[in-house]
């Protein structure tokens, strides 16, 4: 089995689903002629034609709305945001229309919105954001965020086959930086299931996205100090996999929550609150959140480095908990 990148996994998932199901199509800016700003749809136009790989006018609300309409009419559209940051322009369509269709009047809206997100690429405030926080308080949406090549493919396939609107966060930093060999056969990674990225006994680090690698690196360092860290990769952010959260807490009794999204109102707050509410008696120390500070994502390298949670921050938090 050949190793492929995270980006290639995304591409394969779309390609295979488009071949499997004629209802699947792609729309967004520059997805056709150009093959996408990150080349996720390279060659698709030639393969599937201008009606299934649609270069849209620059209009996120319009093409997201159109995806919703097409979904209501029985299609399974994949919307590509050129950068996740531009999803603010389609907030209304996603929150007002897509998220509430099924509850309000019983109509399923099977769309996938691919959101290339995250920093560490010197993109500045508008090409680096994590956007899960905008949608995390919106019932009716699902949000997934793969960290591995395997999950990137399996979760995207699951998202495409799912009957609800799914925001698929893909981390730009991982696109070409991680590689893995994955099964040739068709598989999906079920939405709603977290994953144990590393087994451990002393402290749980609960995280997702590119921060999984930060957690793993911290775990490696801590191992040298004799501390056994369990790393949980959430994979699905909405709805959260409570059971996996509670299982790890019951095992380690100490929790660090780590994410690249800004701290206040982040996914980590919910994770912390859930654990507190349902596993209080298992907690041997406070739940420490490590997240980006409450600022936009700055551009200049020293600032961006200060913004993005670092391995040393995780090590520091775990050490603090170990002393607790």
């Amino acid at each position: 089995m050949k190793e492929i990148t995270y980006l290639e996994a995304i591409k394969q998932a779309m390609d295979e689903e488009m071949t499997r199901d004629p209802g699947v199509f792609i729309l967004g800016e520059d997805v056709g002629i150009f093959g996408g700003a990150f080349r996720a749809t390279e060659g698709f136009l030639e393969k599937y034609g201008t009606w299934r790989v649609i270069d849209t006018p620059l209009s996120e609300s319009g093409f997201t709305g159109a995806a919703i309409g097409a979904a209501l009419a029985g299609m399974r559209p994949i919307v590509e945001m050129q950068f996740a940051d531009f999803i603010t322009c389609s907030f209304d369509q996603l929150v007002t229309v897509a998220a509430k269709n099924h509850y309000r009047w019983g109509a399923a809206t099977p769309i996938v919105v691919r959101a290339p997100c995250g920093g560490n690429i010197h993109g500045g405030p508008f090409h680096s954001q994590c956007i899960e926080g905008y949608f995390f308080n919106v019932p009716g949406l699902k949000i997934v965020f793969p960290s591995t090549v395997y999950d990137a493919k399996g979760l995207l396939k699951a998202a495409i086959r799912d009957n609800d609107p799914v925001i698929y966060c893909e981390h730009k930093y991982l696109y070409r930086r991680i590689k893995d060999s994955i099964p040739e056969e068709d598989y999906v990674v079920p939405i709603g299931k977290a994953r144990v990225a590393l087994e451990g006994n002393d402290v749980s680090v609960i995280t997702y996205g590119a921060m999984v690698y930060t957690a793993l690196e911290a775990a490696q360092r801590l191992k040298e100090q004799g501390c056994s860290v369990e790393v949980i990769d959430l994979r699905t952010l909405l709805p959260l996999d409570n059971k996996s959260l509670f299982d790890t807490v019951k095992k380690t009794n100490k929790v660090v929550v780590l994410h690249e999204q800004t701290k206040t109102g982040g996914v980590g707050a919910e994770v912390s609150a859930l654990i507190n509410e349902y596993c209080f008696d298992y907690l041997d120390g406070p739940i420490i959140r490590i997240a980006a500070p409450d600022t936009p994502v700055p551009y200049s390298p020293p600032l961006e480095e200060a913004f993005i949670p670092q391995v040393k921050d995780v090590v520091f938090a775990v050490e603090k908990l170990m002393r607790y």
Binding site: F25, W51, R52, I54, T56, P57, S59, S61, G62, F63, T64, G65, A66, A67, I68, G69, A70, A71, L72, A73, G74, M75, P77, D92, Q93, T96, V97, K100, N101, H102, Y103, R104, W105, G106, A107, A108, T109, P110, P139, G140, K142, D162, N163, D164, I191, G192, P239
Partner: protein, 322 residues
Amino acid sequence: MDIKREDLVQLYYYLRLTRRLEERFTSLYHQGKILGGAWTSNGTEAVSVGYGYALKREDIAAPYFRDMGVFLVRGITPKRLMAQYLGRKTGVTGGKEGNVHVGDLNFGVIGFPSHLADNYPVGAGVALAFKIRGEKRVVAACTGDGGTSRGDFHEGMNLASVRKLPIVFICNNNQYAYSTPLQLQMAIKNIADRSLAYNIPGKIVDGNNVIAVYTAAKEACEVARDGGGPTFIECKTMRMHGHSEHDSAKYVPRELLEEWKKKDPILHMENYLLEGSISTREELEDIDARVKKEVDEAEAFAEESPYPDPEDCLKGVYATPL
């Protein structure tokens, strides 16, 4: 366009039904039986009845909130609509939604999401699906004059025009957006001129003449069905009630209302049918009696219907729950 007698009579029936049903909503609202708010299309019924009737069974409508006629024409029954207004389990949305927020894909009706003009891109997307699949189907999406100032109006129209999608965009220009008159909404005289920005043909029709609306919509549907792309139809009419039934609309000059009252769409159609000897006073009275009965029955049905169970609140968030 030649319109069959039975269609003309049906158009009259739906105008009447829309009017009477909404009048009942108004009175139930004032009795405190419809909670929250009630909006009617009073005076503008020809728009929704006209364009709704122009669609074929396999077509889809993405109506806005003064489109009661569309629901009725497409076969959503007064009973289910009344139960919807009264928040009952038997309502179109089982109590999840209220009043005009009706959608049912079994009848080819997309639920209106309050946020005006959101349905323009959504409608374009339905049309896109038809086009991708090579189906000869059409979608009609409607908004108010107010809604044409929203960004989604622009993005929906533009997308549809670039891809020549089979869609008919309707605008119910009833002169006001809530209290805001046209001249505070736009610097153009005719909303149809908005379509110049997209190279979409912009038609202006008498929105109080159901035949005119129906004819224009029907023609536009056929153009769209044949691959000719979108049409925009501005229906000039007048909102004769307040914005909602609690609004006395003092901001509307009385003379304006007087003037438009003479052009009442039902009166207009009645005269047309009688003067052209297409129908008889008797037949029309029969229709009205039938309509009244339907509305009475709808009310009785709704009143007898149970409310949803509190637990229903938690159901239906996802189509595929985890």
